[in-house]
């Protein structure tokens, strides 16, 4: 019995010391290495011996074309930020960056104007805001007689559910056009292809799929641009040698991984020290606890976040521990924007354009009318800065705190009640 007990204690201490050794090593020898290290590759190394870690330290910090980093995409997105989009400036959801117009006359028809929409989910405030905007846009076209019926299915973030939702739409034969907001990229690709094969026009927006069979793929510039907007702001506004903490929601989601991959790329060329990157699940309590602990260990001069959820909790951690405000990357979520104005801190609000939820409806009607649409409809994606913050706050003064400033629905008839009573 004594032997087993000793074994158990040994196992527990081994687990602790092993973890302690392996992580102490890289943090001491190369603090910057921790941040750019790819999570997926880092893990097996860490549980191995120290020798493997030492080798890892010598590798260049920016892993070329890692699992979530495609340099060509990264460079294209960064360049797209400076390109003047085509289309009306006061209707950004109709603008397109470098559009390649395609003819849709083969889909022009008046008979079946039933619009179908397979939604991945409404599981976060960003999607909820967009979903309301989309419904309001549909109402406009229904009143104008452009859309007869709007059928929706919600897959609640379940790939299998969405595959069968799409199949059900195809089988019903009701749909005159199908909009898909895929829940994940690879898994949904065959379902989207099946929808294309059925002959109805297919419109994909937000997250992408690995096919170009759809008539148009609508999305803002993308995750690399989003992550880079924040990272560049931190680099510009912090002294060399300052420390930055990265807070992330969860691993493995492409739009979020791209944001972090771009930030790593930019931080690697800077003099900033990355203290760590932590997954928080977007949970305010966890974020606040984490940031508080980092502040106990030393100074945190800047915060990079892959999404604005819980950014206020991070700011409060600085307030409650009596530290100066960090240079902050938030999002155009109103709770953050209001806190930003109230505190006057140095910050930027990158935007993952929420108004993109209007565009698929516009696209469907254009396709039915035989008008040209861009094959890849890249919408503008411009961060909110201190200069135009006041304007956006004023516009959204009566909106709830988890609303997104660039929702782009101010001209819709349901404004503002539809977004207030959610």
């Amino acid at each position: 019995m004594r032997k087993t007990r000793v074994l158990l204690v040994a196992a527990a201490t081994a687990a602790l010391t092993l973890a302690a050794c392996t992580t102490d090593e890289p943090t001491e020898t190369a603090p910057e290495d921790e941040a750019p290290a790819d999570e997926g590759e880092q893990e097996p190394e860490d549980s191995g011996d120290d020798a493997a870690d030492d080798e890892g330290d010598d590798e260049p910090a920016e892993s070329e074309d890692g699992e979530w980093f495609v340099r060509a995409d990264y460079e294209r997105q960064l360049a797209q930020r400076d390109i003047e989009p085509e289309g009306p400036a006061d209707q950004p959801w109709l603008q397109a960056i470098e559009p390649e117009w395609v003819d849709t006359s083969e889909f022009a028809q008046e008979e079946n104007r039933t619009l179908c929409f397979s939604n991945a989910s409404v599981s976060n405030p960003w999607r909820v805001t967009g979903w309301i905007t989309m419904q309001q846009q549909v109402d406009v076209f229904t009143d104008a007689g452009e859309i007869d019926d709007f059928q929706v299915s919600d897959a609640a973030d379940d790939d299998n559910q969405q595959i069968s939702d799409i199949q059900a739409f195809i089988d019903s034969g009701d749909c005159g056009a199908l909009i898909i907001s895929p829940s994940t990229t690879a898994t949904l690709t065959p379902a989207v292809e099946a929808a294309c094969d059925s002959g109805i026009p297919v419109i994909v927006f937000d997250r992408g799929v690995n096919t170009d069979c759809m008539v148009t793929f609508i999305h803002p510039i993308g995750g690399y641009a989003y992550g880079a907007d924040g990272a560049e702001f931190l680099v510009e506004n912090l002294e060399p040698g300052s420390s930055v903490l990265a807070l992330r929601i969860l691993p493995g989601v492409d739009v979020l991984e791209h944001r972090w991959a771009a930030a790593q790329e930019i931080f690697a060329d800077s003099e900033l020290e990355i203290l760590g990157d932590e997954f928080t699940g977007g949970d305010g309590a966890q974020i606040k606890d984490l940031v508080t602990q980092y502040l106990q260990r030393g100074d945190v001069d800047g915060i990079w976040m892959d999404a604005g959820d819980g950014s206020v909790a991070a700011i409060e951690a600085f307030e409650d521990t009596g530290n100066d405000y960090p240079v902050m990357m938030g999002e155009d979520e109103l709770s953050f924007m209001r806190k930003w104005e109230e505190t006057g801190m140095t910050a930027i609000a990158p935007v993952y354009s929420n108004f993109q939820w209007r565009t698929p409806i516009e696209a469907a009607v254009k396709i039915w009318n035989g008008e040209e649409v861009p094959a890849e409809w890249v919408l503008p994606q411009e961060p909110i800065t201190e200069e135009n913050r006041g304007e956006f706050l004023e516009r959204n003064a009566d909106m709830p705190s988890l609303h997104y400033a660039k929702f782009g629905g101010e001209d819709l008839p349901g404004y503002p009640e539809a977004w207030q009573d959610r």
């Binding site: 019995m1 992580t23 305010g284 819980g310 909790a313 709770s335 988890l402």
Partner: protein, 357 residues
């Protein structure tokens, strides 16, 4: 409530001897969790001496308070032989309800707190009555309740909480009394101490003994004149009230997010089990359960101090928890290690398997 002598069983090192002393001091319970707590804190202090400064400790306790409160509630349910999986969802629901009803108006704070208490008690009552009168296993009842609450809140808010908490509401979880040395004595700590004292008093009362007796052997308790269904239902009500209090603390601490409360039920159950409380009921002390909660929170802190990559943390956490619970189970199974432990041979100890999961 049990006069045990755990120190004798495991006086293998100074750490465990200290822990045994702590165990005795705080009214019994396995020394494992106290040993683990001391070891983790020692490691944290070594890695980062500034953590030992009073303001840092206060911040730690402020963040730990909700989990400790939840662990107390979960202890009541587990020790009488049931489980409560609905507490995480209930915490989330209460915070979202509070934000929607208060909507930033200071004057509504107190009425809304009363509404939350009533709602919490109702949830506990429903959990308890379905489990005891309809004889649905509590795992299923509370799993169902967890989904019902989660779904109802999503239906009501459309996935995005509305409204805002008032400053007064947030004071409990965020504010404190400014004073020298500790910088700020958090209200959460004062509330926590009150909960600890209350919990110990409850467990030393005849009600507490009945609770443990019910978990140990409900047939025997019934023959002894205990109304088992009443005792168990009241445990569920206590658990839900504690979850409500935890909701007030978490909402105060961090404000409203759509994810608040997610996964807390399992953290709370882990905390209780880590404290040496046996799933299935009848054994373990409330103080050890609270120590379990502090240990988990300290473990999170230690991971942060070590800058352990997020991805490896759950694995390390799992190994430590299994090792600690298995160690404690061996100790319990040892001859005469605990006064009312059944003299089961170690290999057939029925507690080990469920405790490790």
């Amino acid at each position: 409530m049990t006069a045990t002598d755990p120190g004798r069983a495991a006086a293998t090192s100074t750490g465990t001897r200290l822990a045994g002393l702590a165990g005795r001091l705080f009214g019994g319970g396995g020394p494992t969790v106290f040993a683990l707590l001391i070891v983790i804190f020692a490691l944290i202090f070594v890695m980062n001496p500034s953590f030992a400064e009073p303001p840092s400790l206060m911040a730690f306790l402020k963040a730990a308070a909700p989990l400790v409160v939840l662990a107390v509630g979960q202890y009541f349910v587990i020790v009488c032989g049931e489980l409560d999986l609905s507490v995480g969802s209930l915490v989330g629901a209460q915070v979202v309800i509070a934000a929607a009803l208060i909507d930033g108006e200071e004057s509504r704070t107190v009425p809304v707190l009363l509404v939350m208490l009533a709602f919490g008690a109702l949830v506990g009552l429903v959990n308890g009555l379905i489990t005891t009168l309809l004889k649905v296993h509590s795992l299923i009842t509370t799993l169902g309740m967890m989904l019902v609450l989660y779904g109802a809140i999503r239906l009501w808010t459309g996935g995005s909480p509305k409204g805002a908490l008032s400053e007064a509401f947030r004071t409990a979880g965020r504010g404190g009394i400014d004073m020298p040395v500790v910088r700020q004595l958090p209200w959460a700590l004062i509330i926590l101490v009150a909960v600890v004292v209350l919990a110990i008093v409850v467990m030393r009362s005849s009600y507490g003994r009945t609770l443990v007796a019910t978990g140990d052997n409900d047939q025997a308790a019934m023959f002894a004149g205990v109304r088992v269904w009443q005792v168990r239902t009241s445990a569920f009500v206590l658990s839900s009230l504690m979850a409500t209090l935890a909701g007030v603390l978490i909402g105060g601490f961090a404000g409203v997010t759509a994810q608040v409360g997610q996964g807390l039920e399992f953290t709370a159950i882990t905390a209780v089990v880590l404290g040496g409380v046996v799933l299935g009921g009848g054994r373990g002390t409330v103080v050890a359960a609270m120590a379990g909660a502090l240990t988990i929170q300290a473990l999170f802190t230690l991971f942060n101090q070590m800058a352990l990559p997020s991805t490896i943390r759950p694995a390390v956490q799992g190994v430590i928890i299994i090792a600690a619970v298995a160690y404690a189970a061996r100790e319990r199974a040892g001859p005469g290690a605990q006064d009312h432990a059944p003299a089961a041979p170690p290999d057939q100890n029925p507690d080990r398997e469920p405790a490790a999961t």
